[in-house]
């Protein structure tokens, strides 16, 4: 019994481990998007990549107009925070010709050519002529050869500028603190007019959802409750069209938009999408489950069909309506192919979010912080709604087939 319990616990742990790994995989791109959208441009190109946005710290040093960046430096084996007061100092690496293993690093300006610039002395090592330099070393001057050159920065203690250290800037660790730059969002709004595309998307989505709910409720009620000749044949045709892919429609629908003058107009993103077979089907399936007796009683009391629909059917089918609304909302908010076809790239005024992102991708191709801020503007609203109405999203997924 004890071993059974132990193996059960192990199994649980294993299950949770797998679930958490997958959850991490699912969440990580969104985390990356959010944190990157708060970064400075320089911070986004750092390798190895870091998730959280960080700022390099600066310090005001007397005698310098600009604040100077702080770096970690090694001073006598201790780590201290020094300001970078001068960069790109040319540094020579010098070696004793007799003892090439021993090298010193000094600014090139501190070293004089041995024998003067005009006739500098040289020695031959391994068949190669090497110039000799006078290198000041521990108070003495030693003739040495230059092995290589590099660039260092001069770092100084901000409180005591006389304490100086020369160190490779690229390999030095800047002093940083966690930060956030929400101005990326205002920048991308200004750059690409994302505010306009956000309100366009909201307008299109609201009208599509409202329109589709209306036509689906009316049509679903007719299919579910009213007998008229040809009803069942029509319903089968409706069902059959659900599986026809949108791409078959895209050219003729575009031609239709050209004919009625809706190319480049928001109407083209709204009106064709408020009549769907899928929504009608969904509402019909739900209305069929409402008991007939209630309706008959209301009819006898003299209620009209519209009153019955408004007073009985709609209040009773809130979950189905919310499900359909959710589904339509996602579809309208996220759609890209049709807007891409029907709205011109140049007509920024009528762009929806997905189109703006498509243009932004090219315009800000080297600023991931801006691009991902734009992506966040498009992704976050449905996600926030999802967090509040999770149930309806899950139902809109499952109602699409498993139950039906």
């Amino acid at each position: 019994m004890k071993s059974y319990k132990l193996s059960e616990t192990l199994k649980r742990i294993l299950i949770y481990a797998v679930l958490i790994v997958f959850a991490f995989v699912m969440i990580f791109p969104f985390l990356y998007m959010l944190t990157t959208s708060f970064k400075l441009p320089k911070d986004t190109f750092r390798y190895p990549p870091r998730l959280l946005p960080r700022d390099a710290l600066t310090v005001d040093v007397p005698g310098y107009d600009e604040p100077l960046p702080l770096y970690y430096v090694d001073v006598d084996g201790r780590q201290e925070q020094f300001a970078l007061i001068e960069s790109n100092i040319r540094i020579g690496v010098y070696a004793d010709p007799n003892n090439p293993e021993m090298t010193v690093e000094l600014p090139v300006s501190d070293v004089e050519p041995r024998g003067g610039f005009t006739n500098q002395e040289a020695i031959t090592i391994n068949g190669e002529e090497q110039k000799l330099w006078d290198v000041p070393l521990n108070g003495a001057t030693v003739p040495m050869i230059q092995v290589s050159q590099t660039a260092y920065g001069r770092f100084a203690d901000p409180n005591d500028l006389s304490r100086e250290v020369l160190q490779n800037v690229r390999l030095s660790q800047p002093v940083e603190k966690l930060s956030a730059h929400p101005q990326n969002y205002s920048e991308v709004v200004a750059l690409q007019g994302m505010d306009r595309s956000l309100s366009n998307t909201a307008l299109v989505t609201i009208l599509v959802v409202a329109g589709q709910l209306t036509t689906s409720i009316l049509g679903g009620y007719a299919f579910a409750r009213l007998r008229f000749p040809g009803r069942d044949k029509l319903f089968v045709i409706y069902l059959g069209t659900i599986m026809i892919p949108f791409v078959v429609l895209i050219t003729p629908l575009y031609q239709l938009m050209v004919t009625i003058g809706w190319v480049d107009k928001l109407a083209a993103l709204i009106v064709p999408w408020i009549f769907t077979a899928y929504g009608t089907f969904l509402m019909r399936q739900f209305f069929i489950t409402i008991p007939k007796e209630i309706e008959e009683a209301a009819l006898i009391d003299g209620a009209s069909r519209l009153q019955i629909l408004l007073r009985i059917f709609i209040p009773a089918s809130t979950p189905a309506l919310a499900t359909l609304a959710t589904f339509t909302f996602l579809y309208a908010w996220n759609s890209f192919f049709w807007p891409l076809v029907v709205i011109n790239t140049g007509n920024v005024e009528n762009h929806v979010l997905t189109l703006s992102l498509n243009v932004l991708r090219g315009r800000a191709s080297d600023s991931p912080n801006l691009i991902l801020a734009g992506a966040a503007i498009a992704i976050l609203p449905p996600m926030i709604i999802f967090i509040f109405g999770q149930r309806f999203f899950v139902e809109s997924a499952t109602s699409s087939g498993v139950k039906g």
């Binding site: 969440i27 791109p29 689906s216 009620y221 009213l226 409706y238 107009k265 009549f275 499952t398």
Partner: protein, 562 residues
């Protein structure tokens, strides 16, 4: 509709008045019939400069209108109910035509653009409307009728006030003024007037006394209601779906180019798509021009069977490349998004705490816009600073630290023709995985627990339970998931279009998919006839794949039943 109400209504509207209204409607139909005949005469004699087919369509519509109006007039005169049905249908369609025609000419639909200008200002008020609605839903929480009434009234007041404020904020008054200023156009005036006349005729025929005078039965009324309720959906569906669908079939037989050319070319588009040529080669390295007509065919591939070499040429090489890429994509992305989903849903179904949390997390990607997601992944896939390569480097370093000679591949995901399609597969599978998990989970929760208990009693371990109980009972869900994912994968477009930088066709056309090819043909090179043909080929492929899965589902299903 009890006897009492019918009696009282008859008292209110005497028989003579009903007869008067019916006579008015009848005269209206006579006028309509004569008018449309006159319209036909005008079209053919008055010298309108329309294309032949437009003339034909207009004539047909007018003749139908004349015919039905005449029938309606005769039937109304005889008080036959068929006349009421026809009259209502004709007047309803006429009403809609005149209404939408005048709205179209006034510019209501294109006016949505200017609504978008000011829509932002109205959003706060719109939110207030929702707040008002929310107050209304609170009534259920209180028992006290007085509180309920107050709440209901507050809700109504808030909604009305903020609704009006919203309309004013978005500038509805300016819009209405702008629209009214267009009413001076005689055609618009005519249409607006027509709308009103049609509306009056509709009302006259629809109302209860007319229905009774025309001997309407309950079934008649129900039929009329049925078509009335269905009509918004049905008409829109015909106009924006069924019509374009048929048009699409027609366009696929033409060389339509969006600039006016549209000649019937028969099956030429389809012929060009599927035109392949297979020829035998003497050696596998022989020049293509020696075996196939390179002025028509591009070399697609060459292969060896039984020691003989063959070359395959295609007239439209890009179509076959895109077909190959699409099928590769389907074969990779469908298993990758279905098998882990099946696995995860089984884990989630094992009565663990936090199931809903994990389910929500897995579902998250399917809520987000593909465009946004593809942009995020584009940076994750970045070859130098991207997280994917960083994680690979970390893993390789870890493996090397425990002593094995792996080397860091440093994959250039999106610019390498070997990996670009794989990157698209990863993004798509990542996004579809959670959705499929939720579907499987719903299917699993429908399987009765008792079956598992019985299996446990019979000594089946969990592995056997999965194969013998879960999988067979989950078959309908699995079928649905695989079918919908396949249909979705066949139409892959947005992910590729955004993910692959500069040219979505990718390095060496390695990410050119069917829909992407269709888009390039139809909307970048404007060969819309050809693009429609590609669309129908794609539809046939999708249909075939679905049918194939249906067949397999049926055979496996029947074997389970036996």
């Amino acid at each position: 509709m009890t006897a009492a109400t019918v009696g009282s209504r008859e008292k209110q509207s005497p028989k003579s008045r009903v007869d008067l209204w019916l006579r008015v409607v009848m005269i209206w139909h006579v006028v309509l019939a004569l008018g449309s005949l006159g319209g036909v005469a005008y079209v053919w004699l008055g010298g309108v400069t329309w294309a032949g087919w437009v003339k034909g369509v207009v004539t047909a519509v007018l003749l139908l209108l004349a015919l039905f109006s005449a029938m309606a007039a005769v039937d109304i005169n005889r008080r036959q109910h068929r006349g009421r049905t026809i009259s209502l249908a004709v007047n309803y369609l006429g009403f809609l035509f005149a209404l939408f025609g005048s709205m179209h000419l006034i510019g209501v639909f294109t006016g949505i653009d200017s609504l978008a200008d000011s829509f932002m200002r109205g959003i706060p008020f719109l939110l207030l409307v929702f707040v008002g609605f929310f107050i209304g839903t609170l009534t259920d929480r209180y028992q006290n009728p007085a509180t309920q009434r107050t709440l209901r009234q507050t809700s109504k007041a808030v909604m009305i006030v903020s609704g009006v404020a919203f309309l004013l904020a978005v500038g509805i008054h300016n819009g209405i003024l702008a629209l009214l200023s267009k009413l001076t156009d005689p055609l618009i005036l005519l249409l607006v007037g027509g709308t009103a006349v049609f509306a009056v005729m509709l009302w006259a025929m629809w109302r209860q006394p007319s229905a009774e005078a025309m001997h309407a039965t309950n079934a008649d009324n129900e039929m009329l209601s049925g078509y009335l309720f269905l009509s918004p959906n049905l008409l829109g569906f015909l106009f924006f779906f069924a019509g374009p669908l048929l048009l699409s079939l027609y366009v696929s037989f033409t060389n339509w180019d969006a600039f006016g050319t549209k000649d019937w070319v028969g099956l030429a588009n389809y012929g060009r798509i599927v035109n392949l040529d297979v020829a035998r080669l003497d050696t596998i390295t022989q020049l293509a021009s020696e075996a196939i007509d390179v002025t028509v065919y591009d070399e697609l591939t060459r292969f060896e069977i039984l020691g003989r070499s063959y070359i395959v040429g295609a007239q439209d090489k890009l179509f076959w490349l895109s077909l190959r890429n699409t099928l590769t994509f389907v074969l990779l992305s469908v298993p990758l998004s279905v098998v882990p989903a099946l696995f995860l849903s089984n884990l989630l179904n094992s009565k663990i705490a936090g199931m809903k949390f994990f389910r929500a997390v897995y579902f998250l990607p399917s809520v987000a816009a593909v465009v946004g997601i593809a942009l995020v992944w584009q940076w994750l896939f970045n070859a130098t600073i991207g997280y994917i390569n960083y994680f690979i480097t970390v893993a390789v370093n870890f493996l090397n630290s425990v002593g094995s000679g792996f080397f860091d591949p440093q994959i250039r995901w999106l610019s390498d023709s070997n990996t670009a399609l794989l990157a698209v597969v990863i993004v798509a599978a990542w996004q579809w995985l959670g959705f499929n998990t939720v579907l499987f989970l719903a299917g699993l929760q429908n399987i009765p627990r008792a079956l598992y208990e019985a299996a446990t009693v019979d000594g089946a371990n969990s592995w056997q339970q999965f194969w013998k109980v879960t999988l067979p009972l989950l078959a309908p869900t699995t079928f649905f998931v695989i079918t919908t994912t396949t249909i979705q994968a066949m139409q892959i477009f947005e992910q590729v279009f955004i993910l692959i930088p500069t040219n979505p066709a990718g390095p060496n056309n390695s990410t050119l998919t069917l829909v992407l090819y269709l888009y390039q043909k139809g909307f970048q090179r404007f060969e819309q006839g050809y693009a429609s043909a590609i669309a129908w080929v794609l539809f046939i492929i999708i249909f075939g794949a679905t049918l194939f899965q249906f067949q397999r589902q049926r055979t496996s299903g029947s074997s389970y039943d036996a």
